[in-house]
Amino acid sequence: MSTDDLRALYQEVILTHSREPDGRGIVDGWTGRAREVNPLCGDEIDLAVTVEGDVIRSITWEGHGCAISQASASLLTGLLEGATVSDARDRVERFRTALRSRGEIELDEEHFGDAVALGGVSRYVARVKCAMLAWVVLENALATS
């Protein structure tokens, strides 16, 4: 792997989001909440959603972990606030499929916006869990809502 590959993994948008994440700090009034730990590294995301009707009004979270897990949680917040629950579930599933594809399937900008930067993770099997963590917790939080 060359440094170009490293840059493709750690794109500027990922480094920026990891340093100054969106959605950090759980806000009261949530309707669903879940928490997951990656047992390999101890990375942890606790995430709360506020759903009104079938629309996700807010996503807030707390946690700690590597740049990829933190940036992923931040990007997810901006992307899925305002989405319907079914649309959010659909995009989590597409995200999972792309990340597990070992670089075969790219994330499209129409559905994933800035979060397409996370697509580079799919070529690093050991890091897929880092990027998936917040998305899995969102699914679980929606299930409790």
Binding site: Y10, C41, G42, A67, I68, C130
Partner: protein
């Protein structure tokens, strides 16, 4: 701080650069490249690489003498048994024990579980009932233990109603020897401690712990996984009752570990795993057990792995553990000194305490997994995460850390490449002012 068991090798010369380069030719994997860079393998504390002598010993056995040991009357069975028992004697001599005091296990984790389960089995009439653990008895661990030397004791406490206590560490991760008198009491039955911390690499001064444990009749269980490959290990000089270590961390194969136990203790200890090969007479109702070590070796054994481990021990002995220790100690000092010079790095453990070739550290603002990925981009392999020691990390105020570790085949050049890369990582992740 140096301990008495180290004084014998403090004066040994280290390895010359030419010697290390010669040894490296025995390890085929060290010639590999990662992403176009020569591999710099600084993760030997997780698992060491294996020299051809070990790979050849296993292959030669499997190709020419493979057979079940301790059964069968044919030629191969006799040869295999002899070689298997010779391997036991080789490993015994390596740690200063008698062959009858060496039990093969799958790994160090199994060795510790063997002792913990055997102690609870003592309550059911096998072995010496005086070994049984009763409610109110106390088991003592330390705050820096690997989960393998913590959870088996937690579980033993749960099974028996014993109380699990721990000797704390200070802010640097050093054992609080001043608290021994509070933690080890008349109720203490077991004291379990690591010889060398797998997170911070400091050689623990265990002599006082051993003395305090023995003064109250407690058994000392030593996790020697990180010392056996790096410093001369003399179980009699240390006077521990049990010591465990893993083959794969000391140039040997995976799947084989060693449990040393003082003969008098092993003779009183009931079995953990039961079945074939560990019995004398069996009826439908009950069984008589063999004496140690066979009592603890139920079922088909790891024969080729044990033979591979003996080859590893011969390889280490040919170089000499005192010289390997001097090499590791020098590289460990360089790691600590080099890391301490990088802005934002906190080296774990005292910089002056006796240390093997291992440095745990935290780089402010860069998660260990991201650092590990950055180093991998340059072909440098280190360990990142909680290293199976979550309580110690919590005590040090961390969730995870990074660890570079050396072996007899580690070069100064690899250590320098690593130090430069750590400094560059701070720039890459934008945490350098």
């Amino acid at each position: 701080m140096s301990t008495p068991d180290l004084t014998t090798h403090l004066i040994a010369p280290g390895l010359t650069e030419a010697e290390v380069l010669t040894f490296r030719r025995d390890f085929p994997i060290l010639g590999e490249t990662v992403g176009g860079h020569p591999l710099a393998y600084l993760d030997s504390a997780a698992t060491s690489q294996k020299p051809r002598a070990v790979l050849d010993a296993e292959r030669d056995f499997l190709e020419r003498r493979n057979s079940a040991v301790h059964r069968g009357a044919h030629t191969l069975a006799a040869e295999a048994t002899e070689e298997f028992e010779e391997a036991r004697a080789t490993v015994a001599a390596f740690v200063g024990a008698d062959p009858g005091e060496i039990v093969w296990t799958s790994n160090a984790t199994e060795g510790i579980n063997l002792v913990a389960y055997a102690l609870s089995n003592a309550a059911y009439g096998d072995g010496d009932p005086a070994l049984a653990i009763a409610p109110g008895d106390e088991l003592v661990v330390t705050e820096l233990e690997h989960h393998a030397n913590l959870i088996p004791w937690q579980q033993l406490a749960r099974r028996t109603g014993a109380v699990l206590r721990h000797l704390p560490v200070d802010d640097e991760g050093a054992l609080r020897l001043d608290l021994i008198g509070d933690v080890i009491t008349d109720r203490t039955r077991v004291v379990a401690v690591s010889h060398v911390s797998n997170v911070i690499g400091i050689v623990n001064p265990i002599a006082e712990l051993v003395a305090a444990a023995h003064a109250v009749g407690a058994i000392v269980v030593l996790d020697a996984c990180q010392s056996a490959p790096h410093i001369p290990l003399d179980v009699r000089a240390l006077d521990v009752d049990i010591a465990v270590f893993s083959g794969h961390k000391m140039l040997g194969p995976t799947g084989v570990g060693v449990l040393y136990g003082k003969r008098a203790l092993l003779e009183r200890l009931p079995p953990f795993l039961t079945g074939g090969s560990m019995i004398t007479t069996v009826t439908l109702e009950r069984a008589e057990f063999l004496p140690p070590p066979q009592r603890f070796e139920a079922g088909t054994q790891r024969v080729s792995q044990a033979i591979g481990l003996a080859a590893a021990v011969r390889y280490l002995d040919a170089i000499g553990m005192p010289r390997i220790a001097a090499h590791d100690r020098r590289l460990g000092r360089r790691l600590v000194e080099g890391l301490a010079a990088v802005s934002g790095v906190r080296v774990l453990g005292s910089a002056t305490a006796e240390r093997v070739g291992l440095a745990g550290f935290d780089l402010a603002g860069v998660h260990p997994h991201d650092l590990g990925q950055f180093l991998d981009d340059r072909g440098i392999a280190i360990r990142v995460g909680h290293h199976c020691a979550q309580p110690l990390h919590r005590r040090l105020g961390l969730t995870a850390s990074s660890r570079a570790s050396t072996a007899l085949y580690t070069t100064d050049d690899e250590v320098e490449r690593f130090l430069i890369a750590v400094a560059d990582a701070a720039g890459f992740f934008g945490v350098r002012p």
